[in-house]
């Protein structure tokens, strides 16, 4: 298995945090919702009032949007520009309908009444969902199992 070392060495910081208007001009179009291929990352940025940075690793590109609320959202794109994973961490949860796209309904159906009162860990056919935290500190990551680039350890998605 090919190992990716998680560190600045492999990442090139292509963009400094952009101001809102600057981003519309400088960000390259990319998928935004999980599994999506039509939306532009600018749409996410508008929703999040976010600054963005783009990091390139060997097997994926990560767009990190930091909302004015302090919550960071990461979108992981494969070599074809499709989002195969999303994650978030911060004081407020992002808009899951928007972030999970066509997978939102799948998440809702599986998130129903449950015995555990705490983190949500779901390994659905083809989709893995983790959410944890409490008020003012939320974390989550969701990935499409068969779209994670081969050789990428899933705990690099974070």
């Amino acid at each position: 298995m090919q190992r990716i070392h998680f560190g600045p060495r492999l990442f090139r910081k292509l963009l400094p945090p952009c101001a809102f208007l600057a981003l519309l001009l400088c960000a390259r179009p990319a998928s935004a919702a999980l599994g999506g291929d039509a939306l532009s990352i600018a749409a996410d940025q508008v929703r999040l009032a976010a600054s963005v940075r783009i990091l390139r690793a060997e097997l994926y590109t990560m767009h990190e949007l930091e909302a004015a609320t302090g919550t960071k959202v990461r979108e992981y794109l494969d070599s074809e520009g499709n989002v195969f994973a999303v994650s978030w961490q911060g004081p407020f949860r992002p808009n899951l309908r928007q972030l999970l796209g066509s997978y939102y309904e799948t998440f809702l159906k599986a998130a129903g009444p449950r015995v555990s009162r705490g983190p949500l860990n779901l390994s659905l056919p083809g989709l893995v969902i983790h959410m944890s935290g409490h008020q003012r500190a939320f974390y989550g990551r969701v990935y499409i199992v068969d779209r994670v680039p081969q050789g990428l350890p899933t705990d690099e998605i974070r």
Binding site: A68, G70, V115, R117, G118, M131, R136, D155
Partner: protein, 431 residues
């Protein structure tokens, strides 16, 4: 229930009395010692049981609150309100409320509502004003949330209830079946559930996270994100008491290894404000701005962000891959299922890394615990915080969640942000 506590307390007292130590009833299973406070103006009874009738809530900790129409004696006592140190604010199921409480409105007289975020779920409902009474403590004109749940067909046009906004996302947990409780009493380390960000005008570059809405009618789309002053946000009611307002102590007895059907303890208001709420041998862990500290498990591992949360019903940490503890198969896959009960040690560290303390805890087989013996209270119920993964690179950012099992056999102090106590200024937890 009260009888059960007295019996337990009696046993603990007897052994102490033999040592000539007076009437203190202590339990040494936790690190700090735990005294279950008796009746007082600042003490209310806690019950750990299966929740509302015919429900199976495991490790749910509840209190009874009294709410009144403001400035009247028109009051209602509501039991089985979940006591949650992980959130701020009183939220009651609309279906449990018989009172007609007035709406909280914005400056234009438009009714306010909230989409309250939880880990994967939300609670939606209007803000109402109520006088809250609990033990001898009181808050008048407290903003509370009346939880509406899914669409109600009998909704009047003017509302409430109001249609859930499109941007209010997650699983709608606003029913008795989902909550298995009549509401949530949020007594976290924070004063408000949102804070400064929700006072900002909404807009493209705003930091307003969009929790609060102003609702002009019950129709879909007629609730708009609103800026709400701190004083109108859902607040930890303890912070608004006229006394004993700097925090709380949850005091619960120890639980036998196989669990118990129910348990009774005390919720004490105030820290160091009276004889019954002094800080003594407890370790104080200061928290960061998000209410978290750090936990290392094993004690020499990399630290994980962590929090103490009475509203979580287990000890949720790491993953099967990292702990080598198997998860249960089937419906209980959210829990760990070791072949035999594991006695473990973790190291807790305050947010700045200045104070640390080792904590012992146990993880038992959840299928064995929950398999229909009529027990609903366990100090050894736990599960993964995140799922197994394939590689060892990086650190999972899922939290180490010290849920209710952590509270048994302990006194757990929750100090509110900005409030001073003899053990320092909040936010902190101490135990």
């Amino acid at each position: 229930m009260r009888g059960y506590r007295m019996r337990r307390a009696g046993l603990a007292c007897a052994s102490v009395a033999l040592l000539g130590l007076g009437t203190a009833c202590s339990d040494n299973s936790g690190l700090g010692h735990s005294l279950i406070a008796g009746p007082a103006d600042n003490v209310t009874e806690l019950t750990v049981d299966s929740g509302l009738p015919d429900m199976s809530y495991y490790n749910g900790i509840f209190a009874t609150v009294t709410v009144c129409v403001p400035d009247t004696s028109d009051c209602q006592s509501i039991d089985h309100v979940l006591v949650d140190t992980g959130s701020a604010g009183l939220r009651l199921l609309g279906s449990a409320l018989t009172l007609s409480l007035p709406s909280v409105t914005d400056d234009n007289g438009v009714a306010l509502a909230e989409c309250t975020q939880f880990i994967s779920a939300f609670l939606w409902g209007s803000l109402r004003s109520a006088d809250l009474r609990i033990s001898g403590e009181q808050v008048n004109h407290l903003a509370i949330q009346v939880i509406d749940g899914p669409v109600n067909t009998s909704t009047p046009v003017e509302g409430p209830p109001y249609a859930v906004p499109n941007d209010c996302t997650g699983y709608n947990a606003g029913t008795a079946d989902d909550l298995q409780a009549n509401g949530i009493l949020g007594i976290s380390n924070f004063v408000q559930d949102c804070g400064q960000h929700c006072t900002e005008s909404p807009g493209l570059t705003s930091s307003n996270p969009g929790l609060y809405y102003a609702c002009s009618s019950a129709r879909t789309g007629d609730c708009q994100v609103a800026a709400v002053p701190l004083a109108q946000q859902l607040a930890n009611p303890v912070a608004l008491f006229s006394q004993d307002n700097n925090g709380t102590i949850i005091e619960l007895p120890a639980v036998p290894p196989a669990g118990a059907p129910s348990m009774v303890g005390s919720l004490v208001f105030g820290i160091g404000t009276r004889d019954n709420n002094a800080v003594s041998q407890e370790t104080v862990l200061q928290l960061d701005s998000r209410g978290t500290f750090k936990t290392q498990y094993p004690v020499d591992a990399r630290p994980n962000l962590a929090f103490v949360d009475s509203g979580s019903n287990g000890l949720y940490f790491l993953s099967s891959a990292l702990t080598a503890i198997p998860t249960c198969v089937g419906l209980l896959s959210a829990f760990y299922c070791p072949a035999f009960t594991l006695n473990l040690t973790a190291k807790n560290q305050d947010a700045k890394g200045l104070v640390s303390v080792n904590v012992k805890f146990s993880i038992a087989n959840a299928i064995s615990l929950l398999s229909g013996r009529g027990n609903f209270v366990f100090d050894d119920l736990g599960g993964p915080s995140t799922a197994p993964s394939s590689g060892g690179i990086g650190m999972s950012m899922a939290y180490f969640d010290w849920g209710l099992p952590f509270f048994f056999g302990r006194s757990v102090f929750t100090a509110i942000e900005g409030k001073s106590t003899p053990a320092g200024t909040g936010p902190f937890v101490a135990f």
